[in-house]
Amino acid sequence: MRITVNGRQRDVSSEPVKTLLHVLREDLGLTGTKDGCSSGDCGACTVMLDGRVVNSCMVMVAQADGASVVTVEGIATGGQPAEVLHPLQKAFSQCWSFQCGFCTQGMLVSCYDLLQTNDNPSREDILTAIAGNFCRCTGYQAVVTAVQQAAAEIRTSDAGAQNERA
């Protein structure tokens, strides 16, 4: 089986029914993705599969054969280890959007997905996007604040880039 993970082609020879979550963590060493409930409920294992958020514990690796996966490690830019954090990652740390951090990577991936299509999300948009991500210690308000701050930063830098081109 072959999966493109964070832009890199990876050959996987595990059992077809092994979950994508466990392949990422155990076979590919990408432990940013967390195993919370293993039943699709908590969202700690959220990744992008062919451009859409999924629970990697609810995907057998054979279902992802030929697909492209983005994990939390792939959200930052500039190679691995990441040199440039994504605006969302910066905002999460600036706004104290996590304490224990176990749900954070799932939140990041869901919000990353949201910002692909919505650069000015409302509180309701954000809560809808993270409806499948449970936080049991910090709560959701600081996540909303961070996502809106990151969106504002992205809008400003996009506008800046446009001005430079003009």
């Binding site: 059992e15 077809p16 029914v17 979950t19 293993s38 039943s39 699709g40 409920d41 969202g43 959220t46 599969l49 859409r52 958020v53 999924v54 629970n55 514990c57 609810m58 995907v59 057998m60 054979a62 279902q63 054969d65 869901s110 997905d113 809808t128 996007a129 409806a131 499948g132 991500n133 449970f134």
Partner: protein, 292 residues
């Protein structure tokens, strides 16, 4: 978990052929959101998994005034479809209240039907819209109304050599309103304690021409309340009639007590939710605010 073989079928013929040869030992994989848990919990130990993702069973198209939906249509795809929202709003509403985005991006319509959970969210609206199912095997296909297909929790009339390929939604009468209401412990990521879907279609004289009162999570399968549907037919909607029907629907419910709620609570909630759903239908049909 056991160690099944895994084949991503290249064509519907290949999938049907594998089903013919392996029967109940082969399980179909659509999104896998029910299947993976059942395999992990060792409720299922298939010898072969047949993945349907390469077969184009994910189309949504118009058909004879109604619509035809491929079995592999995902919940998120239904939710985003403007014609579904316009023509079968209760189905769109059930999709909106379904799990959260990651599960909606994987779970399919066909999986929800074949899994045949009494709490499945898409079954009440599909039944209220008189959906029928196209079941295919290598020897041909047959069509069966959804309300005859469900036999019990996880039990359907799908034969071991068959696949569900399409779901047919007929054209709905002009003067209709439907309402889907789900009661869960939270707004998302919740399995229904009770879910109901009602549809009222009025004749020209304003009396009820067709009524569907569908109840979920309160019987071994999603059911239609025969008593309340019969009571509605030919009548003019009124507060008293609605109260009567809500009571009859609660009488038709035979819920169990489980981790989510007690049987008594569920029965009471059927009455409350059916009353609310029919009231929403009434106000939508009389030009008031659209139903839930």
């Amino acid at each position: 978990m056991n160690h099944p073989d895994y084949i991503a079928a290249e064509s519907i013929q290949q999938a049907l052929h594998l089903k013919q040869v392996h029967g109940e030992d082969a399980h179909v994989v659509a999104g896998g959101t029910d299947l993976i848990l059942r395999m992990r919990d060792e409720i299922l130990a298939p010898e072969l998994l047949i993945d349907l993702r390469k077969i184009s069973l994910d189309r949504i198209s118009k058909h004879e005034g109604g619509m035809q939906l491929g079995a592999y249509v995902q919940i998120a795809q239904l939710l985003a479809h403007p014609v579904i929202k316009e023509t079968y709003p209760a189905l769109a509403e059930a999709c909106r209240q379904f799990a959260g985005p990651p599960i909606r991006n994987r779970g399919t319509l066909g999986g929800n039907i074949i899994n045949a959970s009494p709490a499945a969210d898409l079954l009440p609206p599909l039944m209220a819209y008189d959906a029928s199912l196209v079941l295919e095997s290598i020897s041909g296909q047959r069509e069966m109304p959804l309300d005859q297909f469900l036999q019990g929790p996880g039990q359907t009339r799908l034969a071991p050599n068959e696949l569900l390929t399409r779901i047919m939604l007929p054209q709905i009468l002009a003067n209709s309103a439907t309402s889907f209401i789900k009661l869960g412990h939270r707004r998302s990521m919740a399995i229904a304690i009770v879910n109901v879907c009602t549809r009222i279609s009025l004749a020209k004289d304003g009396s009820v021409e067709q009524a569907r009162v569908v109840l979920g999570s309160v019987a071994p399968t999603v059911i239609r309340s025969q008593e309340s549907e019969a009571r509605l037919k030919g009548q003019l909607l009124s507060e008293d009639l609605i109260e009567d029907c809500a009571r009859l629907a609660a009488d038709d419910a035979t819920p169990i007590s489980d981790v989510r709620a007690s049987s008594e609570y569920r029965k009471r909630m059927v009455r409350v939710l059916v009353r609310r759903a029919l009231t929403a239908n009434q106000s939508e049909l009389s030009g008031g605010i659209a139903g839930a």
